[in-house]
């Protein structure tokens, strides 16, 4: 029976970039355990011979031509920005390195 610990929830919240406080962590862990228990019922239902379905309807090779289409204006692009400067999105200092 899968049981999800408070620490595991904290780790997952970290991966998902959500800052859960102690109360939320205490609250969520048991709820998630219950949900996990019910969904774990599907383990072993489908054998190795059953292929996975990622799309309900089988389609392949949907491509577009390499042609330029109209874009947004910079004003439109930045319209929702919480902060902007020099026509760019201003974001707080980034920890971690260049990708």
């Amino acid at each position: 029976m899968p049981d999800i610990t408070r620490d595991e929830v904290a780790h997952l919240a970290n991966l998902a970039r959500i800052d859960l406080d102690d109360a939320e962590l205490d609250h969520l862990a048991p709820q998630l355990s219950v949900i996990l228990e019910s969904v774990a019922s599907i383990s072993g239902v489908a054998g190795d011979d059953v292929p996975p379905t990622s799309h309900a309807l089988p389609m392949t090779n949907v491509f577009r031509e390499d042609v330029v289409r109209p874009c947004l204006t910079a004003e439109q692009a930045l319209s929702g920005a919480p902060a902007q400067e020099q026509q760019r999105f201003a974001v707080p200092r980034i920890l971690g390195d260049e990708q």
């Binding site: 999800i4 595991e8 929830v9 997952l12 919240a13 991966l15 998902a16 970039r17 959500i18 800052d19 859960l20 406080d21 939320e24 609250h27 969520l28 709820q31 998630l32 219950v34 949900i35 996990l36 019910s38 969904v39 774990a40 019922s41 599907i42 383990s43 239902v45 489908a46 059953v50 292929p51 996975p52 379905t53 990622s54 799309h55 309900a56 309807l57 389609m59 949907v62 577009r64 947004l72 439109q76 692009a77 319209s79 929702g80 920005a81 919480p82 902060a83 999105f89 974001v91 707080p92 200092r93 980034i94 920890l95 971690g96």
Partner: protein, 499 residues
């Protein structure tokens, strides 16, 4: 009426805006009403009609749109605080098609946050109330659209359905709701919940209205790689044909696993009556079994959160949406701002599903959870395929119960998830489904619905069988079901204009 010149679009639109002002304080179906825009669009529609060049059959008929679809210039919140005030710079394809067809957009309707829910109680802006009983839920996640139509605030609405979010509200509000074949209606501009399950569709008072609306919004969209590149079948024709009441030669499959235990007695009675009526109309009933359906809920609650957790990562306060600075940190980093904003902006149900989804996809767990769920999905599709060999359509009650009271299931996520038992399988297999009102349950006098499912690409069967059933029920009732809903003017508890 519009075609006959008996009224104008402006009058029609104004009448609905008045109705909204009158009752939406109590119902709270709308998150945003665009009176000015709607009236301007209505005026343009009137001009077109006067010139003899209507844009479509539905030109000038006002419509409400679920707040999960991007509408250029109108706020789009998805029922979440994280998108409070966000105004998209573009239209969803569905919205663009509505505009092209001339339908004035009255406003955006309430929903469970990011379409996660079955009661619209998870909206960050307060719940919507069922027009049949304001203390009860209108279903979810598209409770706003269904309630608006049921309360006569809008003649038509657009909803979206990932696990039943059009059909289930339809059932508990006495309206018609359709989930098209997956890929039948463009998802471009539909803020994704579970990309492999989501579909936009009509929410209306009659089956014919749904067919008309479906034909306006459906069809291939080059901006959506998963949209079907084939012409729609003739849905309006199928609805008209069905309305003659003849179902001779149609095989109706009753799904064993979608009924029985867990289903309210009154819901089952109305369902049985509907099946009997279909037989009277000439249909043949067969019992079919889809054994994998018992795993549908678990499969759904693994696939959906997994896809959603990835879809919702974009809400990080960097480009749009709520930005909250963490308390007590001087000069916070981007990471810290992301975390604080997401914590403040997302509600509990959304957080639950994001965590669950992150878990299901994480290394070491992928095969057992998400991977396994995708396999069980194949089994479910196979069950449908086998069932459709024996039957032309499958039927079941749309939802296990009638509308429950607000707050009743909020603390029990699993109890909430069970509302989608009957509707989920169709999303997993991509097949289309419709919910048609089947009457009022004896115990509580609240609406119930019948779900009709058809094979992928055979949406026309929904309309034929749905229209036939509707005609038979109308005759039996001697009038519209919705006319039996309580008068909202008298029950108005929270007066005031809706936002």
């Amino acid at each position: 009426m519009l075609a006959a010149g008996e009224t104008t679009s402006v009058e029609l639109t104004r009448a609905h805006l008045d109705r909204i002002a009158e009752v939406d304080g109590a119902v709270h179906a709308f998150l945003h009403v665009d009176a000015e825009g709607a009236l301007a669009q209505a005026a343009a529609a009137d001009e077109r009609r006067a010139a003899g060049t209507p844009a479509s059959v539905l030109d000038g008929i006002p419509i409400a749109v679920k707040d999960v679809l991007a509408t250029q210039g109108l706020p789009t919140t998805c029922g979440s605080k994280i998108l409070e005030g966000w105004v998209p710079p573009y239209d969803a394809t569905v919205v663009a098609r509505l505009k092209q067809a001339g339908l004035p957009i009255l406003g955006k309707t309430n929903m469970d946050e990011f379409a996660m829910g079955s009661s619209t109680e998870h909206s960050a802006y307060g719940p919507t109330h069922n027009p049949w009983d304001l203390d009860r839920i209108p279903g979810g996640s598209g409770g706003g659209s269904a309630a608006a139509v049921a309360a006569f605030e809008a003649p038509l609405a657009i909803g979206t359905d990932t696990g039943g979010s059009i059909r289930q509200p339809g059932a508990v509000t006495g309206t018609v709701g359709v989930k098209p074949t997956y890929g039948g209606v463009s998802r471009y501009g539909l803020v994704a919940l579970a990309n492999s399950l989501d579909q936009a569709g009509p929410v209306t008072r009659t089956v014919l209205d749904s067919a008309l609306l479906h034909e306006v919004i459906g069809g291939h969209d080059p901006l959506d790689s998963t949209s079907i590149d084939q012409p729609l079948p003739s849905l309006v024709e199928a609805a008209r044909q069905g309305a003659t009441g003849d179902l001779t030669g149609v095989r109706i499959g009753v799904v064993k696993e979608l009924g029985g235990e867990g289903y309210q007695a009154g819901v089952l009675s109305r369902f049985q009556e509907s099946v009997d009526l279909m037989v009277k109309a000439g249909a043949e009933v067969v019992e079919v079994s889809c054994p994998s359906f018992v795993h549908a809920l678990a499969t759904y609650y693994l696939i959906l959160p997994a896809e959603a957790s990835s879809n919702l990562a974009k809400f990080d306060a960097m480009r749009y949406g709520l930005r909250v600075l963490p308390e007590g940190i001087e000069n916070p980093s981007a990471e810290e701002v992301m975390r604080a904003s997401r914590d403040a902006g997302f509600g509990d149900e959304v957080k639950r599903r994001i965590i669950l989804g992150t878990y299901a996809l994480s290394s070491g767990y992928y095969d057992a959870y998400y991977g396994q769920a995708q396999k069980v999905r194949t089994l479910i599709s196979r069950d449908f395929a086998a069932a459709f060999e024996k039957a032309d359509v499958l039927v079941s009650p749309t939802a296990p119960t009638t509308a429950f009271k607000l707050g009743e299931k909020l603390d029990d996520p699993i109890a909430m998830y069970l509302n989608d038992l009957a509707t989920i399988p169709a999303n997993l297999a991509g097949v289309p489904g419709i919910s048609v009102p089947s009457g009022l349950a004896d115990e509580d006098g609240l609406p119930a619905g019948v779900q009709i499912l058809a094979p992928a690409l055979a949406d026309d069967r929904l309309y034929r069988v749905g229209a036939a059933l509707e005609a038979a029920l109308l005759q039996q009732w001697g009038g519209r079901l919705l006319d039996r809903a309580p008068d909202l003017d008298k029950l108005d508890r929270r007066s005031g204009v809706a936002r």
